[in-house]
């Protein structure tokens, strides 16, 4: 799963208190509520289209990259940004909104070819591509890049492990192996331009994995382990100017050895790209409005302060505002080990969804969610609602019945875990606490450091059991816009881990698990969507997850930005397209 800012902006949240309200993404579905439609141009179309090159594009972020090393990053904005200097095998179509979720090629010469049971994929890359130092990019480099990013014994901890979990490969460690390329058999490179991926099992959505930055080439001799991020060898239109200084800055300048003709997705308009790191959210928002900055790199939209300023003085700002779905689901895990199904359902019935929605900032804050899959994902049915109630205030009778059913007629006590520095998460918990009181379900709120929330607390099986943690507030973003890309990690029994567990409710339902396997062998996307819809329903039925909102972000679109559009694949502006016009 790509945690994007959800998981990690909290680093920033802790760092700068003014960021305390970050991650409170907000909204306006393409078109969204009528009120919102007026000002949402960037969510659906291209604003200020332009071919004009030149100028410096100025980013700023309140937190920091998890890493600038394409092989070692899991932040959404970072996946979006690293493309400046790291070309991947495949890419998402550079187009506004849903259109962007279509796959296209980047380094690859054509789309990958699967064998009939989706256990082997073959892809060819373009010839004559060059690094910044002029040396040629080969298939071996890509193979090595994948090796180092997935088999490194914790040296590069941040990135996802899709290759490791899907490739048919004995575990090994590039940094300890005498000849990693030799040992890494799961990927074959018959020639310098061909890659053959051998998988353990069928994986119909494998091409999506090939869009990930881990497929950006790294020559073995250039690899400096954890230090590689200081100066990544560029394959894209820009290269590092000086070193990346964590917490301070990253500057990019043009890479003369990049050939635009070979690159379908990067107009590469600005001459320079700068990133100011660790600037307070308040300040970023203010400076963007003042025109002293262009883009908030984190892509979570403006902070609550700026937001309410906008909302209160809409006339002055509306033409600059976009309010798209952030693609994220905000939800509450209801932990299966500590609560029986009926009890979980009781909670689902008793919850005051309207209050939760308001706590999340009402309509501009997000759309009230009643199902699992975000509306942008095929198979999602936002209309479905298994726990209906008048005005979404909760159905107390139904809840009481469920309580009786699970033998807790007089209600029960349990703990709800929340991440520190997340006002909206906290508000969610507090609102829930209030509404569950109505059926004598007592919640004790406990806050935990956001950093090790999943590593040590809500995501640690032992901790959850020892401390009777019944619920935990969480949020999720698809790694790619499909049911699998969104739901597998948080609902599949096979995804449960002892620590760092993101199937936090520990739902291990045979039916669900079976459906996931089935999906991976199904070729037709529409059929897959069908399956995902079923999974959605099952999960909600099990009340392992209590959906809260599909949240929306509010972006301020500077007038000096050209080629601005919102891409659903990263749920923020498409950074590759952006240019500046100071005129």
């Amino acid at each position: 799963m790509r945690k994007r800012t959800l998981g990690f902006v909290a680093l920033g949240a802790a760092a700068s208190i003014f960021l305390a309200a970050c991650g409170s993404g907000d909204s306006g579905e393409n078109g969204g509520s009528d009120a919102a439609a007026a000002f949402d141009a960037g969510s659906t179309g291209v604003v200020n289209p332009s071919e004009e090159t030149g100028g410096t594009l100025r980013y700023a972020i309140s937190s920091d990259f998890d890493s600038t090393d394409p092989g070692d990053t899991y932040y959404g904005f970072s996946w979006n940004f690293t493309r400046y200097y790291a070309r991947t095998l495949l890419a998402f179509t550079p187009a506004p909104a849903e259109a962007s979720t279509e796959l296209t090629t980047d380094l690859a010469a054509g789309m990958p070819e699967p064998n009939d049971d989706f256990t082997q994929w073959t892809v060819k890359i373009q010839e004559g591509l060059k690094y910044e130092d002029g040396t040629e990019i080969t298939a071996q480099d890509i193979k090595y890049a994948i090796a180092r990013s997935n088999y490194n014994g914790g040296e590069l901890p941040n990135g996802p492990r899709y290759f490791e979990s899907s490739l048919d490969q004995e575990p090994f460690n590039v940094y300890e192996s005498s000849d990693p390329m030799e040992e890494f058999t799961a990927i074959e490179t018959p020639d310098d331009y061909t890659l053959v991926f051998n998988l353990k099992e069928s994986f119909s959505e494998f091409p999506y994995v090939l869009t990930q930055p881990q497929t950006a080439p790294v020559p073995e001799e250039a690899d400096r382990g954890a230090l590689y991020k200081e100066n990544v060898l560029s394959s894209g239109p820009y290269k590092f100017e000086g070193q990346y200084e964590p917490g301070v800055k990253l500057d990019l300048v043009r890479n003369e050895n990049w050939d635009g003709a070979t690159d379908p997705i990067r107009p590469a308009l600005p001459d320079e790209v700068t990133v100011e790191i660790g600037v307070a959210q308040e300040e970023i928002d203010q400076r963007i409005v003042n025109g002293e900055l262009d883009v908030d790199l984190s892509g979570v939209g403006v902070g609550p302060t700026m937001k309410s300023q906008f909302l209160q003085d809409l006339e002055s700002y509306e033409t600059n505002l976009d309010n798209p779905l952030s693609g994220a689901l905000r939800y509450v895990n209801i932990h299966t080990p500590n609560l029986e199904t009926a009890c979980r359902q009781a909670i689902a019935f008793a919850a005051d969804r309207d209050s939760l929605h308001r706590a999340w900032g009402g309509d501009t804050g997000g759309d009230l969610a009643t199902n699992l899959l975000p509306p942008t994902i095929p198979g999602s049915d936002p209309e479905s609602d298994l726990y209906p109630s008048e005005d979404n205030k909760g159905d107390l009778e139904a809840a009481q019945d469920k309580l009786d059913e699970c033998g807790e007629s007089d209600g029960f006590k349990t703990v709800i875990a929340v991440r520190d520095g997340r006002p909206n998460d906290l508000a969610t918990a507090e609102s829930l606490q209030e509404s569950l009181k109505r059926v004598n379900i007592e919640l004790e709120i406990k806050t935990f450091p956001a950093e090790d929330f999943f590593a040590q607390y809500a995501g640690s099986q032992d901790y959850v059991r020892e401390n009777n943690i019944g619920l935990s507030v969480s949020g999720w973003i698809p790694d790619w816009a499909s049911g699998y890309g969104f739901g597998y990690k948080i609902t599949s029994g096979d995804a449960i881990q002892a620590t760092g567990n993101y199937n936090t409710s520990e739902l291990d339902d045979q039916e669900v698990n079976a459906l996931w396997d089935e999906a991976l062998t199904t070729e037709d996307p529409d059929e897959r969507a069908e399956i995902y819809a079923q999974i959605d329903t099952l999960v909600i039925e099990q009340a392992a997850i209590l959906p809260v909102v599909f949240d929306r972000a509010m972006f301020y679109r500077s007038d000096e930005l050209t080629n601005v559009y919102y891409t659903s694949s990263y749920a923020m502006y498409d950074y590759m397209a952006l240019g500046v016009n100071r005129g």
């Binding site: 799963m1 945690k3 998981g7 680093l11 802790a14 760092a15 700068s16 208190i17 003014f18 920091d64 998890d66 899991y74 180092r148 490194n152 014994g153 914790g154 040296e155 901890p157 941040n158 990135g159 996802p160 492990r161 490791e164 575990p171 460690n173 590039v174 940094y175 690899d223 400096r224 382990g225 954890a226 230090l227 590689y228 991020k229 200084e245 964590p246 917490g247 301070v248 660790g278 600037v279 307070a280 308040e282 300040e283 203010q286 400076r287 520190d420 450091p449 956001a450 950093e451 090790d452 590593a455 040590q456 640690s460 020892e466 990690k489 881990q497 002892a498 620590t499 760092g500 993101y502």
Partner: protein, 337 residues
């Protein structure tokens, strides 16, 4: 004298050792009590979907499985003799004093600290100057004009000052001075060397906020000290000589009244130099204090150790300097070896 300095440095080292030890204890022993396994700890540093292998590898790499005592002495060793670190296949030299590499960003801690030091130092020194001069001046005046309107006013303000939390005054200052009335721009730190103007405007509010608190304390202490001295016999003698009042005050009374202030100043300056957490937080200055908080929340042990050490060093040094200055100010104090 030399002998004395050596002994003091010895004591200083002891203090550093203790602080480090306690930090270790908090971050290594306590979690163990809390039932956190080495893997659990490692889980913090190995991204979001760690495989058991990755966990164990990290445990090994960070030496989390070794006994605390071993880790402690490893730390001390690399501090004194420097150390080597393995990144991928690359070995990196870390010269003494080596504070190691951050667990979370893999950047050398010392470098990071030094990068942030200028901010904290500007903050600390600037504020210190303001509060020392301001506080003392007000204190002296109040003492001299004891019971006057000024005195009551000043002492009232001082008491208000010591009762106002920085994170309140700071926020108010930002909310009104910056955002409501736009008197000052949104503070954005710029190095003194690059842009003195921006540096000054950015630092102004933090300085004032931080200084206000201390100035208040100093005013109170100076006043008390002055009053005590003014009741001394030798002040009477001075008057009996026919000295003018200002000479009595500024030559005879001020000096003895300030000597104790010197001590306090040493300690305070030391503390603030170690990172004015709250001020840096409120004004989101990326100084040592803010760095420390992030590190603690990120359980980034090498950084936490680095910061606490730095803080302790400042305290030790400042106190030593003060104690060495003391005999110059007060001849009765001789530094017994």
């Amino acid at each position: 004298m030399l002998n004395y300095i050596l002994r003091r440095l010895g004591a200083g080292l002891l203090l550093l050792a203790v602080v480090t030890a306690v930090t270790f204890w908090i971050f290594y022993v306590l979690p163990k009590w809390a039932g956190v396994t080495p893997r659990g700890m490692a889980a913090m540093y190995v991204g979001k979907a760690p495989t058991p292998e990755a966990l164990d590898a990290t445990v090994e790499r960070l030496g989390l499985d070794q006994p605390v005592i071993v880790q402690f002495f490893d730390f001390i060793r690399s501090l004194v003799f420097g150390d080597q670190f393995q990144f991928g296949r690359e070995t990196v030299e870390c010269a003494a004093p080596c504070l190691g590499y951050s667990f979370t960003t893999n950047s050398p801690v010392l470098e990071q600290l030094l990068a942030r030091l200028p901010i904290t130092v500007s903050l600390a020194l600037g504020a210190a100057v303001i509060w020392l001069i301001g506080g003392v001046a007000v204190g002296v005046l109040s003492a001299v004009k004891r019971g006057s309107v000024f005195d009551r006013l000043a002492m009232g303000t001082a008491l208000v000052g010591v009762s106002l939390p920085i994170y309140f005054t700071g926020l108010l200052a930002l909310a009104f001075i910056v955002h409501e009335w736009k008197v000052l721009p949104v503070p954005r730190y710029a190095p003194l060397t690059e842009n003195p103007g921006a540096w000054f405007t950015a630092m102004l509010l933090p300085w004032i906020t931080l200084a206000f608190l201390h100035a208040a304390q100093y005013a109170r202490q100076t006043r008390a000290g002055m009053l005590e001295v003014l009741s001394e016999d030798y002040i009477r003698t001075a008057r009996a000589k026919g000295l003018s009042e200002r000479k009595v005050i500024f030559k005879h009374a001020l000096r003895p009244a300030l000597t104790p202030i010197l001590t306090i100043f040493g300690l305070d300056l030391g503390l603030v130099l170690g990172g004015a957490i709250l001020t840096e937080k409120v004004f989101s200055l990326k100084g040592v204090g803010a760095y420390a908080i992030d590190a603690i929340i990120g359980k980034d042990l090498p950084v936490v150790l680095g910061v606490t050490l730095l803080g302790a060093v400042f305290i030790v040094v400042c106190n030593l300097v003060v104690d060495l200055l003391y005999p110059l100010v007060d001849p009765r104090v001789r530094i017994a070896g």
